[in-house]
Amino acid sequence: MKNSLHVISRITVAICAIALTSAYFTPLWQILMWAPQYPEGLEMKIWINNLTGNVKIISALNHYIGMHTIEVSMFPEFKYMIYCVGVLILIGLLAALINKRWALLAFVIVLCSAGLALLIDFYMWGYEYGHNLNPDAPIKVPGMTYQPPVIGTKQLLNFTAFSGPDVGGWIFIVVVLTSFGALVAEQFFMKRKTI
Amino acid sequence: MKKIALFLGIAVMLFNCSPDKPKTQEEYPENNEVQSEPVPAANLMDPGKGIGSVKSVTLNTPLEQDRVKRGNAIYEMKCSACHKLNTDRLVGPGWNGITKRRRPEWIMNMVTNVDVMLDKDAEAQKLLELCLTRMPNQNVSIGDARDVLEFMRQNDGEK
């Protein structure tokens, strides 16, 4: 069968698509914060359609410097993320069903662009959240903005903030890398076949 | 806490183990003034006078009436809660006959230096065993103690 997938690739893609369902029951992203008076740290977990952790405490602290209260309603993404991930899963399963290399390629491209879009979206939210400060804030530090890092660690006044993937995020990354690996492996299988 | 220590201290004394105050395990000589103070040899030679700054008392006859009067007032304020004027023991022994039993120096040292007396004087310790309550330091000056002594003499029928 021309352009059809190796059985291993096919199973891998199917597993990847199913693995994506973890996004519905594991947190995708985490923001951790420490300050001298918060040695145990504060955390915020971002889920597919929700926020958990010390969101209220973080908002209460941030209001001193004029940052807006973090609320689920702040993120329109939460309304359609569940469908987006559903579409991703569907495409993955379809790719396995179609069993063609182009389908796998399509899956990988959609997956990568979805990840990238999420990161850009997160950056844009962070920029807005960190820069658009209430002019009536009690504490105004000249020239200071409070954009959280996209990935990694950053010092924001007395807080050390860390941002990075959580369980669901890691699974997503593994899925991206694995399906990309499958794509690369397909090239290898194809060469072997043609020889 | 201090009081428990005091209680323990008394308990220890009852069992005749050691008349010393409870010691801390480590030695801090400068804080143990009372204990490290050597007992003057004179007192050891002359146990009937007790331990304290009163070495000798001159008694006059007839009694000094102004001293008797003051002594009576001090008795009522600081002593009468525990000592009766007859021979009955209340908390401490009754005072009747005391000036016949004890030397005047012993009485005055007991009144003015009671803590050391109860720790080191054998006669005072015998009284503690009998009465079970440590005689309190009533902050009586030497002069006041002399007045009390004069009052005791009157109580014992001297003129």
Binding site: P36, Q37 | K3, F7, T24, M77, A81
Partner: protein, 661 residues
């Protein structure tokens, strides 16, 4: 083969993920310093080097700790009742808590000021403020007892208090809340700008006996006074107050009082005020009502008198009396250095720490380098008064104390640290974290002309994980740091009671030799004292029954009392006949709705008891006094209202026939 590859790739990815996630930064680690234990260890039988006299905050009391051990020795009740020793419950002490609003059993004690002579501690008195119902209290450092409480009229929120001048001429009391004063106080809250006034009371302290009196009151614009310090040396004669809410907001101050880039330090020339008073410029206001309570040390009885007059000066009307100095964002601490030349103001929301120069302030006043006025009071140009700013000192500066070597120590609430900097050069020298979110800090002798130095103590606002947890409510946390070397060194964490705000430390040698050990029974002038068992008695005055009782190891006299009837009020006046140090007796009676008495040697205290039912009620000594303490007990018989049981009392009397029915 290929499967292996995939598995190994997945494994590698997994490992990478774990590695990456372990790169997450850890929370700040507590610094432990070696050799710290030795420096704070006070061996059994040894004494601490300093007394640390600390406010109890919302417990309304003052606490006494030892330094460097951090051990708590005593809690002195001041503005709150204290059932532990009967303060506020006994007939003698009740009057101490009297106010123009009646008896008030609680307050919020924030700051301590130890009396000074020539700008140095003299170890005589400790003053403290009641923040809620405005009052100032005085504690005698010989007896560690509250001996005087003065209520402040025209005041609300006595926070800017009780800071003291270098010869204890005055203790100051500035209002945290401005309120409407005068005849018409029933005004809309929204008319704040028009109707609300602040006041600063200067309370004179009698150099002989410490008695307090409101010398005069300054009327100020309706803003909030936060903290203050008196000048010293060259600046003696001046007082400096930090002010916030110059926006004059009356709601949501968190936002509305934080809008201006600069609030003010108010510099007050109190010597000038004295001149105005001498010239008769003080306006007498006499429709007031405020309590002055004092303890008569001869009788041990507190009395309360109601006063109704103060002299007032309006700082906007009188010239050369007061000046505003702009200060970044809501200044909190306002501290003068030992030389008296520098005034450190901490804008708690500001990014820099301004230091003002007294000489420059004087020059600016002389040259009239003003920047307009605020409510009629000249504003000195910021730059003209400024010695310099400490750059990037930390976040949320609150308070500053000083050592004797030209260094300042500032507490930073937000960044939770103490920063050491040099006053002259404004250079930051060192910083240490505090656990957590420090409020006030204290260097022994820090507010005087000659600080003793050696330590800085951090009084923190957040405790969290420092001690074994005790449910939602935790002990407060303090830390002791050594400041002997170039680097501050954490020595000790110690829990504190209440919520300590400010505290002062004073060498033990200045207090210890003067401590009073007993009250001399000869000098006891209490009207109901029984100075000897001969004088014990029970007297009936209408429905009042007065028991003149004595306590000595180990009996109460009388210990059998009969003839009390329902409807009677029984007053137990208990005199402790002991004359030895550390032999208090306690007194408690079943069903008393007050508290126990704790009677020091030679003292008389009174417990009022109103029996509610017929029966025989026991009373006993509550303080373990001797081997026979448990035997120190007695009975009182309560008969029906119409009973004719005669009033009798005795100790040690055994009757063949019981009296009564």
């Amino acid at each position: 083969m290929k499967l292996n590859k995939i598995i190994s790739t997945a494994t590698a990815l997994g490992v990478a993920a774990v590695l990456f996630s372990s790169c997450k930064p850890q929370g700040p680690q507590a610094v432990t310093t070696s050799g710290a234990a030795e420096k704070v260890y006070v061996a059994p039988g040894k004494y601490d080097e300093f007394y640390n006299i600390v406010s109890g905050g919302f417990n309304g009391q003052m606490s006494i700790y030892g330094l460097p051990s951090g051990r708590l020795f005593r809690i002195i009740p001041v503005f709150s009742v204290f059932p532990e020793n009967g303060y506020g419950f006994s007939e003698e002490s009740k009057a101490m808590l009297n106010t123009s609003h009646g008896f008030i059993p609680w307050d919020d004690l924030h700051h301590i000021a130890l009396s000074q002579t020539n700008g140095e501690h003299d170890g005589r008195w400790a003053f403290c403020n009641a923040n809620n119902t405005p009052r100032v209290g005085r504690i005698d450092m010989k007896t560690f007892r509250t001996v005087e409480i003065l209520e402040l009229p025209n005041s609300a929120g006595n926070h800017s208090s009780p800071f003291i001048t270098e010869n204890s001429e005055y203790v100051v009391a500035g209002t945290r809340f401005s309120v409407p004063l005068g005849e018409n106080k029933d005004v809309p809250i929204s008319s704040y700008k028009k109707n609300f006034t602040g006041t600063i009371s200067l309370i004179s302290v009698d150099p002989k006996d410490g008695n307090m009196k409101i010398a005069f009151q300054l009327l100020t614009p309706g803003i909030d006074f936060d903290l203050a310090r008196a000048g010293k040396g060259p600046s003696h004669g001046w007082f400096f107050f930090s002010c916030y809410n110059t926006e004059q907001a009356h709601t949501l101050l968190e936002v509305n009082a934080s809008q201006r880039d600069k609030d003010f330090i108010l510099a007050v020339n109190w010597k000038k005020a004295e001149e105005y008073i001498k010239q008769g410029k003080g306006k007498k206001v006499s429709n007031l009502k405020y309590a002055h309570n004092s303890l008569d040390e001869k009788t041990g009885v507190a009395t309360s008198e109601m006063l109704n007059e103060v002299l007032q000066l309006d700082i906007a009307e009188l010239k050369d009396l007061a000046y505003f100095i702009p200060c970044p964002k809501s200044p909190h601490g306002c501290d003068t250095d030992p030389s008296g030349e520098y005034i450190v103001a901490s804008g708690k929301l500001a990014a820099t720490l301004p230091v003002f120069s007294f000489a420059k302030i004087q020059k600016a006043i002389a040259d009239k380098t003003f920047d307009g006025d605020y409510s009629g009071i000249p504003i000195i140009k910021y730059e003209a008064a400024l010695h310099g700013e400490v750059q990037k000192p930390g976040l949320g500066p609150l308070h500053t104390e000083f050592d004797g070597n030209g260094n300042a120590y500032t507490s930073f609430f937000v960044s939770s640290e103490i920063v050491k900097w040099e006053v002259k050069s404004l250079k930051v020298l060192d910083r240490v974290p505090t656990y957590y979110s420090i409020g006030h800090l204290s260097v022994p002798g820090g507010p005087t002309k000659k600080p003793y130095g050696k330590y800085v103590i951090a009084y923190n606002k957040i405790t969290k994980d420092r001690y074994l947890p005790t449910g939602p409510e935790l002990a407060q946390s303090a830390q002791l740091y050594s400041i002997d070397g170039d680097k501050m060194q954490l020595l000790l964490d110690f829990p504190t009671v209440g919520e300590p705000h400010y505290g002062e430390a004073i060498p033990a040698s200045m207090i210890m030799p003067n401590t009073q050990k007993i009250y001399k029974i000869e000098e006891n002038q209490h009207a109901y004292a029984a100075k000897g068992e001969k004088y014990t008695k029970v007297e009936r005055k209408g429905n009042q029954v007065h028991v003149y009782m004595t306590a000595i190891r180990s009996h109460l006299t009388p210990d059998n009392i009969e003839g009390v009837k329902l409807g009677d009020e029984v007053y137990f006046h208990v005199t402790n006949l002991e004359q030895d140090w550390d032999v208090p007796h306690g007194f408690a009676i079943k069903a008393a709705n007050t508290a126990e008495l704790l009677i020091m040697p030679g003292e008389t205290q009174t417990l009022k008891w109103k029996p509610q039912e017929v029966g025989v009620f026991p009373f006993y000594c509550t303080d373990f006094c001797s081997a026979l303490h448990q035997e120190m007990q007695g009975y009182i018989r309560v008969s029906g209202a119409s009973s004719n049981v005669p009033l009798t009392f005795s100790t040690g009397k055994v009757e063949a026939e019981p009296s009564g029915k």
